[in-house]
Amino acid sequence: MKTVILKTASNYLLPLLLLFSFFILLRGHYLPGGGFVGGLIAAIAFVLHAFANGLENTKQLLRIHPGFLMPVGLALALFSGFSPIIFSDLPFMTGIWFPEPLSVVGMVGSALFFDIGVYLVVVGVSLTIIFTITESA
């Protein structure tokens, strides 16, 4: 779709939407949001960019194949599950937390890293499926 309006808008929308998706991810623990929705929003941001500028440009912007986000996310989620075993000698998947809250983010703990893992997997999965279908359909 070659429209100047969409093209121009998408250049501004991409960073904004990504920032928004990250915001949604971080607030998930206290207010509606979370890794899953955040990941979907990030995926939509990239798809929008691909609509306006062509898939090739988006891929160049991403540098790596979105598929690589999947193992990274899975590993991060798994790591957060193992972290209580490693750091506190607690069973698998027990939530552990830093004692003091961070400004803006709030409490930082294993659940947050788990959510980031979900976020990365969702972005990777959606983009892989959509990019693959776009390329071969």
Partner: protein, 774 residues
């Protein structure tokens, strides 16, 4: 003992890496493995003879009562020595028989697995681990029968053997499970204590029947015998080792092992006697019609196995003693005959009995081995076979009312077996040497020494039965629950009925050998009866099964996505509809409903418009966009009913779904091929029914008194335990984190699937080149 069993498997594993070094001249080194094991088991002979039983217990799956318990008693020891001893000779023989074969290492690998598994069967004290080893022998047998996998007949025979023995294996597992639950233990030696409990249990008949099916399939008893002649497609060392000396005796072993636990009941004894008799006679008669040496030997093996089942069926102390002795007798002479046949086949290229004669002039030591084995097979004194045959007659003669009848059957079988033995061991070597065989030369000593050792052993034990009397036979009989201490093996019993019977057998047998000349004519004549043979019936059944499954598959797996979806929905509607109709009381409490608001009315109106537009539009893209509208209105409803998380997710998912649809539809051909109105009406009815069903379901759920325990727990503890205020998210990432982890793993798998399907497929050009190559 675990180490001994594992040795075979480790040896095979080693061959994966070191196989190419062992393929050449070093092949003979592999024979050291069974030799080492043979020596290892020999050292137990004295201990076992003193009446001790050696056990070892390794915990495997203790929570299910499945342990790797191993017990070495007299019965196991006989089998272990046979497996490793004959194994050693066969390993050495193979080094020359398959010299320079491309896949010699593979062959040794299969043999190694087989040896380990077979040792596992005879040493296992736990019936579940016995089953595992049992299946492993079936598998290794499959690979060995199909070793010449470029021949269709080999592959077919291998599959047939696997199907039949695997079928029996399933019965063994079910029988073992029932037996284990009745006895309260899976350990065989502990079952002995609860023998009465088992035989009085209402499941006794089922247990025994299942164990019988397992034993009969493995030991090629009528009507499951037909896989064994087919299994002769395997290279001769395999026929020697698996299909005459050891594996087919696993069924016999199973029956003997369970004789003390399940035996001495009417059902046990008469079934075994009937099946054993039918098998031994049926197969013995069959040997008359065979002209292929291995065919003759295959049927005489089946017949011998029949004799063993028959003896176990008699169940008296004499009969069990005869069975123990006959196992050894048979292993010695039959392995010799097979090895001799292998040499003849290897050197002359023929196994046709009508063509072979006079080979003693060129293969003299082989002729001696064949002759001695035939003597032992015939039961001519002073061979070991004579001893074995005497014991069989003694067992039948002392068996109550039907003694005369059973003895007569045993005599007929033995006469025919004698004929078969002479045919295989003497016929090829006697008479005149045909011109075209005059250049035949002796094979490597690795090939003719093993049969000679076995044959000489068959005579030696006959002359000096005391070699095995105390060391092997007595403990074996004892382990069958009889008093083996007073067993006495003697060659000469004086002039009595048994000697007369023996002489009659030998006399008529030799006459038969000189009277009947095997010809192709008879073999062809008998093939006309093939259509009623169990083999044909089984194959027909297999074909019918094949036909049915392809019909079934084509009906449901037709490749049309729309049919899959309608089938799934139809099934759900049928199953759920039935349950709802039966159990629903349709009580709705209208007073509990909140009043409609204007937002809701408008949202639902938009939704209905979207649905109608989707159904009636003629443009695919418009339909997708309208569906998107329906999705967005749903997320609006989520917002009204205070589920912001759901609304957000629904909103994003819907956006992505529309994009995905557009991407695919955009690339479809432009012309429209919409479904006709009949299909539409059908689909419409299905959709409405499904929708109605879901609505009823949702209303019913509301009508049920709610249990709020779970949601209260989450609401109370989300902040306390997980420091989060958004309960939904806390559940996702903390309380049910493992579920979420599984879900994202599934998502990843789906994405990889899409990627693989679309990216890794062949292009049209590649497809054409591969097809051309074919």
């Amino acid at each position: 003992m675990l180490t001994a069993i594992l040795t075979g498997f480790l040896f095979s594993l080693l061959l994966v890496f070191a196989g190419k070094y062992l393929k050449g001249k070093l092949a003979i080194l592999s024979a050291l493995v069974p030799l080492g094991l043979f020596i290892y088991f020999l050292q137990f002979v004295e201990t076992i003879a003193n009446g001790e039983i050696i056990s070892q217990n390794v915990e495997w799956v203790p929570s299910f009562g499945v342990n790797l318990g191993f017990t070495l008693d007299g019965l196991s020891l006989i089998f272990c020595l046979m497996i490793t001893g004959i194994g050693f000779l066969v390993f050495a023989y193979t080094a020359a028989y398959l010299k320079g074969h491309e896949y010699l290492d593979r062959f040794y690998g299969y043999l190694g697995i087989f040896m380990g598994a077979m040792l596992g069967i005879v040493l296992s004290d736990n019936i579940i681990s016995l089953f595992v080893f049992w299946e492993l022998t079936s598998l290794s047998s499959f690979f060995l029968i199909g070793f010449n996998n470029k021949e269709e007949s080999s592959r077919k025979s291998a599959i047939l053997a696997l199907v039949i023995t695997g079928f029996g294996g399933l019965f063994l597992l079910s029988g073992a499970l029932i037996l284990g639950s009745v006895a309260g233990t899976f350990t065989i030696s502990e079952m002995l204590i609860s023998k009465d409990l088992i035989s009085e249990s209402p499941h006794y008949i089922i247990i025994v029947a299942m164990i019988f099916v397992a034993a009969f399939t493995k030991s090629a008893q009528f009507p499951f015998h037909f896989w064994l002649p087919g299994a002769m497609k395997a290279p001769t060392p395999v026929s020697t080792y698996l299909h005459s000396a050891t594996m087919v005796k696993a069924g016999i072993y199973l029956l003997m092992r369970f004789t003390p636990v399940l035996g001495s009941t009417e059902f046990w004894n008469s079934t075994l006697i009937i099946v054993g008799t039918v098998t031994m006679l049926y197969a013995a008669i069959h040997t008359l019609f065979r002209t292929d040496l291995k065919g003759v030997l295959a049927y005489s093996t089946i017949s011998a196995l029949g004799i063993l089942v028959f003896l176990i069926g008699l169940g008296t102390e004499e009969a069990l003693l005869a069975a123990c002795v006959f196992i050894l007798v048979h292993a010695l002479y039959k392995a010799t005959l097979f090895l001799v046949t292998g040499i003849i086949d290897h050197e002359t290229g023929s196994r046709d009995i009508t063509l072979l004669s006079g080979l003693r002039k060129v293969l003299f030591p082989v002729a001696i081995a064949g002759f001695l084995a035939a003597i032992s097979n015939a039961g001519i004194p002073p061979s070991f076979g004579f001893l074995g045959k005497d014991l069989i007659y003694e067992a039948t003669l002392h068996f109550g009312n039907s003694a005369i009848f059973l003895t007569a059957l045993a005599i007929i079988t033995n006469i025919l077996l004698l004929y078969a033995g002479f045919l295989a061991g003497i016929k090829p070597f006697s008479g005149k040497l045909p011109e075209n065989f005059s250049k035949v030369h002796m094979p490597s000593f690795l090939m003719w020494i093993p049969p000679l050792i076995l044959a000489v052993l068959g005579i030696l034990i006959g002359i000096f039965p005391s070699i095995i009397q105390e060391s092997l036979i007595q403990p074996a009989v004892t382990s069958l629950g009889e008093n083996g201490g007073d067993v006495l093996l003697k060659l000469w019993h004086g002039f009595n009925t048994i000697l007369a019977l023996s002489a009659t057998t030998i006399g008529i047998g030799i006459m038969l050998y000189f009277l009947i000349k095997p010809t192709k004519k008879v073999e062809i004549a008998i093939e006309k009866l093939e259509f009623i043979s169990p083999k044909t019936i089984t194959e027909k059944f297999g074909d019918a099964f094949h036909y049915f499954s392809s019909l079934w598959t084509n009906l449901f797996q037709n490749g049309y996505l729309r049919h899959y979806v309608s089938t799934i929905i139809l099934f759900l509607v049928a199953v759920m509809g039935y349950t709802l109709l039966k159990n629903t009381r349709y009580r709705l409490d209208y007073s509990s409903f909140t009043a409609l608001t204007i937002y809701e009315v408008i949202t639902v109106a938009i939704m209905i418009a979207g649905i109608l537009y989707t159904v009636f539009t003629k443009s695919r893209l418009a339909a997708v966009a309208a569906l998107g509208i329906v999705g967005l209105t749903i997320s609006l409803i989520f917002v009204y009913y205070s589920a912001p998380d759901l609304a957000m997710t629904q909103f994003s998912i819907d956006t992505l779904t529309v994009i995905l649809f557009v991407l695919v539809l955009y690339k479809l051909p432009k012309y429209l091929n919409l479904s006709d109105y009949k299909t539409r009406i059908k689909d419409g009815i299905l959709s409405i029914a499904f929708g109605a069903l879901i609505s009823i379901l949702a209303l019913e759920v509301l009508a049920e008194p709610q249990s709020s325990e779970i949601s209260e727990f989450y609401a109370e503890n989300a902040y306390l335990l997980a420091k989060g205020k958004n309960v939904v998210n806390v559940i996702l990432v903390d309380f049910r984190g493992i579920d979420t982890f599984m879900e994202i793993a599934v998502l990843t798998i789906a994405a990889i699937g899409v990627f693989a399907l679309l990216k890794l497929r062949m292009t049209a050009k590649e497809r054409i080149t591969t097809e051309n190559k074919k």
